[in-house]
């Protein structure tokens, strides 16, 4: 008997068409997945590092027991080690850094210090700058600190100074020791190619590099930004440049800048997320001309002054542009922190003291423990994050200051 004419029929033609569309979609997104993934890390080509690199300490070999293992040799990790050792001088602290101290966002930042975060001045962050100045003064860290009219420093030398201080207090810092995995448990095992560190507490202070460890991936993501510095400028040009530069490039995004040592002007701008928490972006042929155009538009005297030095690097971000502290692992003894959205030098120093306090049972400010919007996996993650960034660049999306 024939089927009633109102019954929807799934014809061979419909099947072939649907299968073709699904195949094309699968091939497209599958191809993008293969093509866009990049395991490389952008080297640190910053102006600060170009002025001379501190010799790296020895990589870790073999097995080690510790009371506290810290992953990441940026300002957060170093500040955590410093504050932990100041509070408990006998604590066995082992800090592991994949490349060298200051390799990540710390050594690539502009070194401009400010209280609070990208979105405001939440509780506990009102004295961030004063804390950095106090550390620099107390431990005699040579980092070209300028106190007025704007507080700024050489962030790489600040990190190196923290490293020397931590070493002086008895902490162990191993550079060239990239962590590959963490084995959860009452005692966490932190493994690299040639080492294993066992510790009851682990602080992951890798900021934008954190998701690549499989930790905090739903909350943290790396966004690559760019910075560049001019050659030394004549005094008559420098005179008309403010000590601190802030130029809005859309309703939400901005170019920041400062005067840098040697009579230079240093600026930075932009954000871009790369597939699968990609850590490689050298800027291409469009980025730095676009940055220079923005600079020249605001300061016409710099139009004929090309950048002498340009670099990029990933900064850790969250969906609400505020740093977070979170826990991972069944025992909650893996603590991660990051997401400063480019405000990490002073805030990272403060976060280090919060993390150190947590070792003694003290809670950080509640806002740092807040839940955040969960980020999806790829390819939705790539699409969602870059769509929001593009909308911000185009002035189509505005994020209200919420703290």
């Amino acid at each position: 008997m024939d089927a009633p004419s109102s019954t929807p029929s799934f014809t061979r033609r419909t099947f072939v068409r649907t299968a073709t569309l699904a195949g094309i979609g699968g091939a497209y997104f599958g191809g993008a997945h293969l093509l866009l993934r990049d395991a490389r890390w952008t080297p640190n080509l910053s102006f600060w590092v170009s002025r001379g690199r501190d010799p790296a300490g020895p990589p870790l070999r073999g097995e080690r027991e510790a009371d506290l293992a810290i992953i990441g040799g940026g300002v957060t990790g170093l500040s955590t080690a410093l504050h932990a050792l100041l509070r408990s001088p006998r604590l066995r602290v082992v800090l592991l850094e994949a490349h060298y101290v200051g390799f990540g966002a710390t050594g690539r930042s502009g070194g401009v210090l400010g209280n609070g975060t990208e979105m405001g001045t939440p509780p506990g962050t009102e004295e961030n700058v004063a804390q950095v100045i106090e550390i620099v003064d107390r431990f005699g860290i040579g980092c070209d600190l300028e106190r007025a009219p704007e507080t700024q420093l050489d962030p790489y030398r600040y990190a190196v100074g923290l490293k020397r201080t931590v070493l002086g207090l008895g902490g162990a810092i191993h550079e060239g020791s990239r962590v590959r995995s963490l084995e959860d448990g009452q005692t966490v095992t932190v493994r690299g190619d040639d080492f294993a560190v066992r510790a009851p507490k682990v602080i992951v202070a890798a900021n934008g590099y954190t998701p690549r460890l499989g930790i905090g991936a739903a909350r943290l993501f790396p966004a690559h930004t760019a910075a560049a510095v001019t050659a030394p400028l004549p005094r008559e040009i420098l005179r008309d440049i403010p000590d601190s530069i802030l130029v809005m490039t859309s309703g939400e995004m901005y170019m920041w800048g400062r005067k840098a040592p040697g009579g230079r002007v240093l600026v930075g701008a932009g954000a871009r997320y790369f597939y699968d928490n990609g850590l490689y972006y050298k800027g291409g042929g469009f980025l730095f001309p676009a940055l220079h155009r923005t600079l020249a538009k605001s300061f016409p005297a710099l139009a004929g002054r090309p950048f002498e030095h340009a670099w990029t690097g990933p900064m850790g971000c969250t969906t609400d542009q505020e740093p977070i502290i979170g826990t991972a692992g069944r025992s909650g003894n893996i603590v991660y922190c990051g997401g400063y959205t480019g405000h990490g030098i002073a805030m990272g120093t403060k976060a280090g003291s919060f993390l150190s306090d947590m070792l003694h049972g003290q809670s950080p400010p509640a806002w740092m423990l807040r839940p955040t919007q969960s980020l999806p996996g790829e390819p939705l993650r790539y699409i969602a994050i870059n769509t929001v960034i593009n909308m911000m660049n185009l002035g189509l999306y505005h994020m209200d200051k919420h703290v």
């Binding site: 593009n390 909308m391 660049n393």
Partner: protein, 72 residues
């Protein structure tokens, strides 16, 4: 939905979604393929074809600008 309406809708989507990475070039490419295939068969009017193809082309130019020019 008629072929012409579908082609025009794809052309509009191609422009509206220009700032959505991965998705924008897919929609724009699909629009062009769709318009070309309908045009080849002679089953699309000239206005719809021009609107859809222009939408795809404009969307792609805006997509490239978003990727390479409006980045700072």
């Amino acid at each position: 939905m008629s072929d012409a309406a579908r082609a025009r809708a794809l052309g509009i989507l191609s422009v509206l979604l220009f700032f959505v990475p991965l998705v924008a070039p897919l929609v724009q490419g699909a629009t062009l393929v769709y318009v070309l295939s309908l045009g080849w068969r002679g089953s699309l009017d000239r206005t719809s074809m021009i609107l859809a193809a222009s939408g795809a082309a404009l969307g792609f130019v805006l997509f490239l600008a978003t990727e390479y020019l409006f980045i700072v």
